[in-house]
C-alpha cells in the first residue's frame, strides 16, 4: 500500500519531511479506519438532537402557501385584499411582491449548469402545487383563512406531461420568454432544456466490426428522496438586521449564496443555520421555493416566520428523480468484446430545468464508463413538462442509466450465448483505464483505484456463480440470479471547493470548522476522524463545527458524493498545516529541527526520546511561558480536477411463481469498492441504506402524475417504500482499494450502492423465468404479463 499523498493540486512546496511525518502518524492512527461512534450520535439516540422545527416558535408567524391547482396557467391577477384585511394576517405575497430576476434553484455554485428559468413566485405556473401566493399570519387558523380569501384569476393553459409530446410541434411552450444561462442546444420553444451529443471513436465503424448488434429500451419511473423530515424553514432578522435561515439543507453555503443573490443582499447579511437534518438524498441540494418564500415573508414582515411543508405537500412538490427513457444499441463480437455502444436518453425534467443537463449527462457517462470501448456515443435531451421539477436524488441519473446499461449487458450476453458475468469480466474497466467523462469536464479520466473486478468476484462467490448457483428445481417456483456493476464519483471535478480551519485549543483538543452538509451520513464524524488521526488523538478530543455559515469557511456542501473526498482532503490538509505549526514551535522551544519532531498518540515527541502531551504543549503555548502567546490554527483548502470513482457489484437472487408472476427478492449482495473505509460501520450503513433505497425504486416506489399533471397520491400511505419486514437477506462486502489522492486512501460511498439493485433484480427475474422487464418498477403483474406473452 502506497503511503498517502495529497492530490496533484496540493501545494507543490510540501516538504519531503511530511512523508516521514505521515508514516509516523499513520502507525499511531486510532481514529481513521475504526467504526467510532458518530460525533452527533448521543443526540440522535436520546432524542436531544435538534432539527429545524425543534425550537420554540410561539413567537413566529405561520407561513402558508397557496398552490396552483392547475398544471399550466398564467396568473392574470391575484386579489389579496380580503386576505390582508383578516385579523392576524401580517403579509400576503404574490409574484408582484418578489424580485423580478430569475434564477435556478439548483444547488451548484453560481452560475450553475442550469437555465435561470424561475422566480421566487412565478406569474406563469407550470406544475400542480406550484406556489402562487404566500401568507404569514399570527396563527395557523388565520393563515389558512387567508389562503381561502385570496382570489386568483388563472388563464388556464394547455398542459403536457409526456416528454415526447412536449417536443411535438403543436405542444404548449412552458418557457416562452428567453432566459439567461441556457444550456447546451437549448430550444425552449419546443420545451427542450438541452440536447447533448458526445462521441468517442467512430460509432458506425464500431457497429460494422460487430458480429451482433443488440438493441433495447429501458424506462424508469419518478420516485422521491422522501427524507423523513419534510422541507422546513424558520427565517428571521437578527439584532443586526441580518436575514437568518434555520433550514433543512445539505448545502448551507450555497443556500446562503442563492438567497443573498435572489434578494440582492450582501453575503454577510445572510446566515444559514443547518441544524441536524432529517435526511437529504439530494432534495436538500437545491434552494427550494419554501426557503426563498420564507425569506421573503421574513423580509416583508420583519418577523420570524415558520414555513413547514406537510408530508403531502412534500410528496407533491419536492423535486423528484427524473423519469427517463434509455435506448441502447451495442455492437459485440462473438468473443464478447464490445465494439461500439450508443446510449440515447430522453429525460423528463418537469417544470424547471434545475438539474436537467447534469442528471442527463451523468445518466450516460457513469454507467458507460464501466465498459470502456473505443467507439461510444451518448445522445440525449432533457424536456420540460408540466409536472413537479426533477432534481437531484442519490445516484443522480446513474440509477436510470445503470438500469439500462446493466439490463442491456444481460441481453447482449443472451444474444451471443455467453455467461453474463463472463461478458462483464471481458469488458469491465481496469486500473489505469479512463472513465467516460462529459466533453466539457476537465476531469482527469485515468483512474488509479479500480476494484470493480474484485467486487464482481466477491459478489459471485457469495452464490457460487462460477459453478452455476444452486438452483432448486421447482416446477412452479423458479430461482434466478442477476448481477449488475455500477460506478459513481467523488465530487464534481473542478467545481467542488472546501476549506477547513482547525484550532488547537489550549487543552490540546481540536476545533474543526468546516461547512460540510451532514444530513445523517456521518460527514462531521469522518472529518473529526481525519483531523484526530493526523495527531493520533481520540475522536473525543475533536469538536466539529459545521452547522452555521457564519462559523465555517465555504464548502459546497453534500452532493455528488463529494464530502469524504473533497472536504476530507481539506480537513487533512488543515490538520497537517496545524501539525506543521506545532512541530515548528516545538522545535523552536527545543532548539531542534521541526522535521525531527513527531506527533504520535496525542504526544509531541522529541528526537531525544522525551515527549510531552499535546495538552501540555497547547497549554504552555497559550500561557506564553516560552515566548509570545500562541493559539495555533491550521487551514487547508481543496479544489481538484479529480473525481475518483467508487464501484459496486450487486447480485440479486429472486424466486418467481411461474403461475402468478409473484416474486420475492430473497437476497441482495453488495460488494463495494470505496477506497479505504474510514468508518466501516458508517460505510456499511451507506451501502445498505443505498441498496434498500434502490430496491424501493425497483419494487414498489412510484410517484404517478395524471394526464392533467395532478400527482396521484394522497399522502405517505400511497407511497410504498421498503419496510423492515420486506427486506431480503442483505450482504455487504467492503472491497477496499487504496485511492492515492484520497484522504487516507478514501473515495466515496454515498451513492454507488443505489445504482445496481434495479438491473440486478431485472436480470435475476429474466434468469429465473425468461421474462425481461424493461420498465420500473418490476411488479408481479408485469412478470405475469411476460409469462403469458411468452406462452
Amino acid at each position: 500500500m502506497a503511503p498517502p499523498k495529497l492530490s496533484e493540486d496540493a501545494e507543490k512546496t510540501e516538504t519531503p519531511e511530511s512523508e516521514s511525518e505521515r508514516a509516523a502518524t499513520e502507525a499511531a492512527t486510532t481514529a481513521v479506519g475504526e467504526s467510532v461512534e458518530k460525533v452527533d450520535g448521543w443526540g440522535l439516540v436520546t432524542g436531544k438532537a435538534r432539527y429545524t422545527d425543534d425550537i420554540p416558535t410561539a413567537d413566529a408567524l405561520e407561513g402558508r402557501l397557496l398552490r396552483s391547482p392547475h398544471a399550466h396557467a398564467r396568473v392574470r391577477s391575484v386579489d389579496t385584499r380580503a386576505a390582508e384585511a383578516l385579523d392576524g394576517v401580517e403579509a400576503v405575497l404574490t409574484h408582484e411582491d418578489v424580485p423580478a430576476e430569475r434564477f435556478t434553484r439548483t444547488g451548484f455554485p453560481y452560475p450553475a449548469p442550469a437555465p435561470f428559468d424561475e422566480r421566487v413566485l412565478n406569474e406563469q405556473v407550470r406544475y400542480v402545487g406550484e406556489p402562487v401566493a404566500a401568507v404569514a399570519a399570527r396563527s395557523v387558523d388565520a393563515a389558512e383563512r387567508a389562503l381561502e380569501a385570496i382570489e386568483v384569476d388563472y388563464e388556464v393553459l394547455e398542459c403536457v406531461v409526456d416528454p415526447e409530446e412536449a417536443m411535438a410541434p403543436d405542444a404548449p411552450t412552458l418557457h416562452p420568454e428567453p432566459y439567461e444561462n441556457p444550456q447546451e442546444n437549448a430550444a425552449p420553444e419546443r420545451n427542450v432544456v438541452c440536447e447533448t451529443r458526445h462521441e468517442e471513436g467512430d460509432i458506425e465503424a464500431g457497429f460494422e466490426r460487430a458480429d451482433a448488434v443488440v438493441e433495447g429500451e429501458y424506462e424508469s419511473q419518478i420516485v422521491q428522496q422522501l427524507p423523513m423530515e419534510t422541507n422546513t424553514t424558520i427565517a428571521w432578522l437578527d439584532d443586526r438586521e441580518r436575514l437568518v435561515l434555520r433550514t433543512t439543507t445539505q448545502v448551507s453555503h450555497i443556500c446562503r449564496d442563492k438567497i443573498a443573490r435572489a434578494f440582492d443582499l450582501d453575503r454577510t447579511d445572510v446566515k444559514v443555520v443547518k441544524p441536524r437534518v432529517g435526511g437529504g438524498f439530494g432534495v436538500r441540494q437545491d434552494t427550494v421555493p419554501n426557503q426563498f418564500i420564507c425569506a421573503a415573508l421574513a423580509l416583508a414582515t420583519g418577523r420570524k416566520v415558520r414555513l413547514k411543508n406537510s408530508r403531502k405537500e412534500d410528496l407533491h412538490v419536492s423535486q423528484t428523480r427524473h423519469a427517463q427513457a434509455v435506448s441502447i444499441k451495442t455492437g459485440v463480437r462473438e468473443d464478447g468484446t464490445i465494439t461500439a455502444m450508443h446510449v440515447d436518453i430522453t429525460s423528463n425534467t418537469g417544470a424547471y430545468g434545475c438539474h436537467a443537463l447534469a442528471v442527463l449527462s451523468n445518466a450516460a457517462h457513469e454507467p458507460m464508463s464501466v465498459y470502456p470501448t473505443e467507439n461510444r456515443l451518448f445522445t440525449g435531451r432533457a424536456v420540460y413538462t408540466n409536472i413537479t421539477p426533477g432534481g437531484a436524488m442519490r445516484g443522480y441519473g446513474a440509477v436510470q442509466g445503470t438500469f439500462g446499461v446493466e439490463s442491456h449487458m444481460d441481453e447482449i450476453a443472451d444474444a451471443i450465448g455467453m455467461d453474463p458475468v463472463k461478458l462483464r469480466r471481458r469488458n469491465v474497466i481496469q486500473e489505469g483505464e479512463e472513465s467516460f467523462e462529459p466533453p466539457d469536464s476537465e476531469s482527469k479520466p485515468e483512474l488509479e483505484s479500480v476494484g470493480v473486478s474484485e467486487c464482481l468476484d466477491r459478489a459471485c462467490a457469495a452464490v457460487g456463480w462460477a459453478d452455476g448457483p444452486d438452483r432448486p428445481d421447482g416446477d412452479r417456483y423458479e430461482r434466478g440470479y442477476g448481477v449488475a456493476l455500477a460506478m459513481a464519483k467523488s465530487g464534481v471535478p473542478n467545481s467542488e471547493y472546501s476549506r477547513c480551519s482547525i484550532t488547537l485549543e489550549d487543552d490540546g483538543t481540536l476545533t474543526v470548522r468546516i461547512g460540510v452538509g451532514d444530513t445523517g451520513q456521518g460527514s462531521e464524524t469522518v472529518m473529526g476522524q481525519i483531523a484526530a488521526s493526523v495527531f493520533g488523538l481520540d475522536i473525543g478530543s475533536v469538536h466539529v463545527k459545521a452547522d452555521d455559515t457564519d462559523a465555517t469557511p465555504w464548502d459546497n456542501g453534500a452532493y455528488a458524493s463529494s464530502t469524504t473526498y473533497i472536504s476530507g482532503n481539506a480537513t487533512e490538509k488543515a490538520a497537517r498545516d496545524l501539525a506543521g505549526k506545532v512541530r515548528e514551535l516545538a522545535a523552536e522551544w527545543h532548539g531542534t529541527d521541526p522535521g525531527a519532531i513527531e506527533l504520535v498518540d496525542g504526544q509531541v515527541a522529541f528526537p531525544d526520546g522525551t515527549s510531552t502531551s499535546l495538552e501540555s504543549f497547547a497549554a504552555e503555548a497559550f500561557e506564553g511561558v516560552r515566548g509570545p502567546k500562541r493559539r495555533l490554527i491550521g487551514t487547508g483548502e481543496h479544489f481538484t480536477a479529480l473525481s475518483p470513482k467508487p464501484f459496486a457489484a450487486q447480485l440479486a437472487e429472486v424466486e418467481v411463481d411461474t403461475e402468478t408472476g409473484e416474486f420475492d427478492v430473497l437476497r441482495l449482495v453488495n460488494a463495494v469498492d470505496c477506497g479505504q473505509a474510514l468508518n466501516p460501520a458508517n460505510v456499511r450503513g451507506q451501502i445498505v441504506g443505498g441498496a434498500v433505497m434502490g430496491l424501493g425504486q425497483t419494487l414498489s416506489e412510484t410517484l404517478p402524475f395524471g394526464e392533467d399533471g395532478t400527482p396521484e397520491i394522497r399522502g405517505l400511505r400511497d407511497y410504498e417504500v421498503i419496510h423492515a419486514p420486506d427486506l431480503p437477506e442483505i450482504e455487504t462486502e467492503i472491497v477496499e482499494t487504496y485511492e492515492p489522492t484520497g484522504p487516507y486512501g478514501a473515495k466515496s460511498v454515498g451513492e454507488v450502492s443505489v445504482l445496481g439493485p434495479s438491473p440486478a433484480v431485472a436480470n435475476a427475474v429474466d434468469d429465473a423465468v425468461g421474462v425481461r422487464i424493461t420498465e420500473l418498477p418490476i411488479t408481479d403483474a408485469k412478470i405475469r404479463d411476460g409469462l403469458e406473452g411468452g406462452e
Binding site: 387558523d141 441536524r276 435526511g279 433505497m693 400511505r717
Partner: protein
C-alpha cells in the same frame, strides 16, 4: 389571535414520570401538544399515522402513534417518549448504546420512534428473532439505514438485557 389566546383546554399527563399540564387547542393531536410543550423528540414525519416517527408509549395502550390520538383523550394518562429511556443518572439504555455502536442511526429523525418500537417489542418478547424485530419495525419508516443495523442493534440489546439482571428500565 395567538394560539394561546385560542387555547380552550388543558390536559394533565405524566410524561416520562413527571406531571405536566399541557394547554391544547381544539382538535389538537397528542403529537402536536407534546411538541408545543417542548418534547421535540416526538417527531412529525407524516402527520398521517404512517411513518412511526411520532411513536410514544401511551399508558396501557402501549406503542402509539401520537399523531393519530387527540390530546384531549389522554387526560390523566402516562406518556413515555424516547427521553424516558435514559436512566436516572442519564445513562443510556442498552438499546441506545447498541444503536450507537452499530451505526444504526444516520439522520436520526426516525430514531425516537424506532427505539420505542424496539422497547415495546422487548417488553413483550425478551428474545426476539430477526423476523420478530423486523415485524416490530413494520410501522416505522427509516429512509437512511435500510433497517439492517437497527434490527441487529435491537437483537443485541435484547441479548444484553436478557443476560443481565432485569432492571426497571430494562425490558419492563
Amino acid at each position: 389571535m395567538s394560539r394561546k389566546e385560542r387555547s380552550t383546554d388543558a390536559v394533565h399527563l405524566q410524561i416520562n414520570g413527571e406531571g405536566e399540564r399541557l394547554d391544547i387547542e381544539p382538535g389538537e393531536t397528542l403529537m402536536s401538544a407534546l411538541r408545543r410543550a417542548g418534547h421535540y423528540s416526538v417527531k412529525n414525519g407524516c402527520d398521517e399515522g404512517v411513518c412511526g416517527a411520532c411513536n410514544v408509549i401511551l399508558g396501557e395502550e402501549g406503542l402509539t402513534r401520537s399523531c393519530l390520538v387527540p390530546a384531549v383523550s389522554c387526560d390523566g394518562g402516562e406518556v413515555m417518549t424516547v427521553e424516558g429511556l435514559l436512566g436516572d443518572d442519564g445513562e443510556l439504555h442498552p438499546l441506545q448504546e447498541e444503536f450507537l455502536d452499530r451505526g444504526a442511526a444516520q439522520c436520526g429523525y426516525c430514531i425516537p420512534g424506532v427505539l420505542l418500537s424496539g422497547y415495546d417489542l422487548l417488553r413483550r418478547n425478551e428474545n426476539p428473532t430477526e423476523e420478530a424485530v423486523a415485524d416490530a419495525l413494520s410501522g416505522n419508516i427509516c429512509r437512511c439505514t435500510g433497517y439492517v443495523q437497527q434490527i441487529e442493534a435491537i437483537r443485541a440489546a435484547a441479548e444484553r438485557l436478557h443476560d443481565s439482571e432485569p432492571t426497571d428500565r430494562g425490558g419492563r
